[in-house]
């Protein structure tokens, strides 16, 4: 009989348990540490995201409201003769209306009248003109119009101008502040939601500037990008996944598609500048060029997503279809592609969301121009959301600081919407085998 405990040979079960018990505490501690590090990483990521969103909201929320003023304007037939329309002294008519609301203003002084007019946005005279041109009977009558106030007064009303700074150091004088307070007491000032942010195109004047041009431009760019990259991307993926022989050439193509997905976007911009604009002679700043450029960028993403989705369709489905006599084309279009569609759409939407936020290639092809009207076709000049943010971020007027943040929030909103659609599609149409 051998003494088990003393024998060299295999370890006794008892000793192993002891060994395990001895290290157990340390292993548990390691596990807890890993868990906490992971949680910490998530915490840091969320804090960053929170800081980003919070800083955008804190500087951008003010731009979603715009100070307006209601003015009762007497359209003096002497200043605005019907036969001269659309030309006429609309600014003088407005200044007179302002003077009436502010009795202490000296109406004979040109400088006073100018600063009275300065309370109103520069767009006021044009919106009044458009009203009168549309309805010339208004001449000789008094109409009440509600127009934006100019940017310094908007800032004042939003509390962004410190009234305690020395007069020379702020954009509004003491006298103008007094006027504004009088108008406020009269109830002429209101601060409704800033619809102009979505219905106006770009402007030099922050109170008139909006995102319509950029939204329309982004729409055209993304449409072109989708029309080009979606069929081409799916076509290449189907060939590579279903038809291509497995050889060196198809490996080479696959590696290069993956490389293409990693090429910095500015390179595509330079390519577009040289090829589309330089060689093909397409117009600068046009969404068609932007769309083509972004299509080049989005295509690899779509190809990769589509191939992954096609791979996920079980081979049994293909074999069953082939077994009942379907041709390869029928197998792909009748069975594999419909089943892979949710994955393809998710990949496509994520690719398009990436394209929506892309700035560098658009800067190179001149989509950062100043354009005061929305594009009516992909061949017109336009900006896109990210380039509009770029332009506003570089503008000296104070009102553009909050508008830049507001535009970023709008862009983020669209990105979240697109990602939500992708998630919804995946959830709704996903099949489990």
């Amino acid at each position: 009989m051998t003494d088990i405990t003393n024998a060299p040979g295999p370890r006794s079960p008892h000793r192993t348990t002891e060994l395990i018990a001895g290290t157990l505490k340390r292993r548990h501690a390691k596990e807890a540490r890993l868990k906490w590090i992971g949680l910490g990483a998530i915490g840091i990521a969320f804090t960053m995201l929170f800081i980003l969103i919070a800083s955008l909201v804190s500087s951008g929320w003010q731009a979603f409201a715009q100070t307006h003023i209601s003015v009762a304007v007497y359209i003096d037939p002497q200043e605005v003769p019907a036969e001269n329309l659309p030309r006429g002294g609309f600014d003088d008519v407005l200044a007179a209306a302002m003077a009436q609301m502010l009795p202490d203003a000296d109406t004979d002084d040109r400088a006073t009248m100018r600063s009275l007019n300065g309370i109103l946005s520069n767009g006021a005279q044009f919106s009044l003109r458009d009203q009168v041109v549309a309805n010339p009977d208004l001449i000789g009558q008094t109409v009440t119009i509600k127009v934006p106030v100019s940017d310094p007064f908007d800032q004042l009303n939003k509390g962004l101008i410190d009234r305690d700074t020395i007069e020379q150091n702020r954009r509004v004088t003491d006298r103008e502040i007094a006027w504004f307070d009088t108008l406020k007491d009269q109830g002429a000032i209101s601060k409704p939601f800033n619809w102009a942010l979505f219905t106006n195109a770009d402007s030099r004047f922050p109170e008139l500037a909006g995102l319509k041009g950029a939204l329309v431009g982004s729409f055209w760019v993304l449409s072109i990008c989708f029309i080009i990259s979606f069929p081409l991307g799916i076509g290449s993926a189907i060939y590579l996944e279903e038809f291509a022989p497995k050889n060196k050439l198809s490996d080479f193509i696959e590696v290069n598609i993956n490389n293409l997905a990693a090429v910095p976007s500015v390179v595509f911009g330079l390519l577009a500048l040289a090829v589309f604009i330089g060689w093909f002679g397409m117009p600068r700043s046009a969404p068609i060029v932007g769309g083509l450029t972004l299509a080049l960028m989005t295509m690899p993403t779509i190809i990769i997503a589509t191939r992954a989705a096609l791979k996920a369709v079980p081979p049994s489905i293909r074999e069953a279809a082939l077994g009942v006599g379907a041709s390869k084309q029928q197998v792909v279009f009748h069975h594999v592609l419909p089943l892979a569609m949710p994955g393809i759409l998710t990949g496509t939407i994520i690719g398009l969301a990436q394209a929506l936020g892309e700035t560098a290639p658009l800067l190179l092809i001149g989509m950062n121009a100043f354009i005061t009207s929305a594009a009516s076709s992909p061949f017109d000049s336009a900006t896109a959301l990210p380039t509009q943010i770029f332009i506003w971020a570089d503008s000296p007027e104070r009102g553009f600081v909050s508008r830049t943040s507001a535009a970023i929030l709008v862009l983020l909103g669209f990105l979240m919407l697109m990602n939500a659609v992708a998630i919804y599609l995946r959830q709704k149409f996903q099949r489990k085998w």
């Binding site: 659309p86 100018r114 767009g123 044009f126 101008i161 410190d162 700074t165 020379q168 150091n169 702020r170 954009r171 402007s203 030099r204 004047f205 072109i224 029309i227 080009i228 979606f230 069929p231 081409l232 799916i234 076509g235 093909f280 002679g281 397409m282 117009p283 600068r284 700043s285 046009a286 068609i288 083509l292 279009f333 001149g366 950062n368 121009a369 100043f370 354009i371 005061t372 009207s373 992909p378 061949f379 000049s381 332009i391 971020a393 570089d394 503008s395 000296p396 007027e397 104070r398 600081v401």
Partner: protein, 345 residues
């Protein structure tokens, strides 16, 4: 099958777009980012007044604008370029080579380059151009030798200045603002140095040796975004910023201008040239495009109108320093009549 249809229409669209020669009915403008806001203002006013399509204004920088502008004649080339300096002989040459022979030059006004500092800084900053040069240049005279810049504190340059580290944010070399700053402040400051004056060096020597900004830390290139410089100045009360006067004008509640030789930057001092660092702003227009591109003549009339250019015009409200009246009238006449410029020296 819809799939095929989509593919075919996509290809068709590509084919169409490739062959469409851009028949355009709007004016295209490129050029300096400093002239950009003024051109924008005129473009918007013009479009509001006449109902014509608004000109497309693109900010490409002065040099980039000249390259595109001088690319040729025809609808695919821009009609106007803005510049924060006069056209260089090499650019004039390029224009001539590409058939852009008749160009009108319009000097629209002046822009001050301001040095600014946060209002949180209590010191009354007043620098001479020579002090600015000594603080920011790559090479300065040290003990009678031309050597790398050793200064790190302002009081090493002038004992009356505070004992704080030299730190200035400024534009990158691609910017017209930088070109102007080097030419107007650095070269002038360099010429004021006793070393240069006594040494009998000429303008070529100054251009060769006094053009480089230091790269060892005190001068920081802050990119083209001037609002970013404004934010950095707010964060650091001892930092100076270099940018166009319009940015100082918009931010006077946060920033104050640094006096140069005792002169505060303001519309008045820039206009009467007593503030030494101011530069002319130009635009250039192709005469061959006049009467061909719709509305181009009307746009130039708007740009040249008293409403825009006069000292109480709407461009002045944006920070442009207007020309004196007699000069303005001569300019209006020359530009409206399409007088072509001669080769610059």
């Amino acid at each position: 099958m819809t799939f095929t249809k989509v593919s075919v229409s996509a290809l068709a669209l590509m084919a169409v777009s490739a062959t469409t020669a851009a028949a355009r009915d709007e004016i295209r403008i490129v050029g300096s980012s400093t002239v950009f806001p003024y051109t924008q203002a005129v473009a918007e006013q013009f479009s509001n007044n006449t109902g014509a399509p608004s000109p497309i204004v693109e900010s490409t920088g002065t040099g980039g604008g000249m390259q595109i502008f001088c690319g040729g004649i025809g609808e695919s080339h821009p009609d106007i370029t803005g510049a924060s300096r006069a056209m260089k002989p090499s650019e004039f040459e390029l224009c001539q080579q590409n058939g852009v022979t008749e160009v009108s030059e319009a000097l629209i006004g002046f822009d001050g380059l301001s040095l600014a500092i946060s209002r949180a800084n209590d010191f009354a900053w007043d620098l001479s151009l020579a002090e600015i040069y000594l603080a920011l240049a790559a090479q300065v005279p040290v003990d009678g030798e031309w050597a790398d810049n050793p200064y790190t504190m302002w009081n090493e340059i002038n004992p009356d200045l505070p004992a704080v580290e030299i730190l200035a944010y400024g534009p990158p070399p691609t910017s017209g603002t930088r070109d102007a700053f080097v030419e107007l402040a650095m070269h002038a400051g360099c010429e004021d140095l006793p070393f240069v004056q006594d040494g009998g060096f000429d303008g070529d020597w100054v251009g060769e040796n006094c053009s480089r900004m230091r790269t060892d830390g005190p001068f920081v290139e802050a990119g083209e975004n001037d609002n970013l410089i404004v934010q950095r100045l707010e964060a650091d009360a001892n930092a100076l910023g270099i940018f166009g006067y319009s940015f100082l004008y918009e931010n006077l509640d946060k920033l104050k201008g640094v006096m140069i030789d005792g002169i505060d930057p303001s519309i008045e001092t820039i206009a009467d040239k007593s503030y030494p660092v101011s530069r002319p702003l130009y635009f250039y227009v192709k005469n061959a495009h006049r009467g061909v591109i719709p509305n181009l003549n009307e746009f130039i009339e708007e740009y040249m109108s008293d409403d825009a250019l006069a000292s109480d015009g709407y461009l002045s409200e944006r920070g442009l320093v207007a020309l004196a009246e007699d000069r303005r009238e001569a300019l209006q006449e020359a530009v409206l009549n399409g007088t072509a410029m001669t080769a610059p020296e």
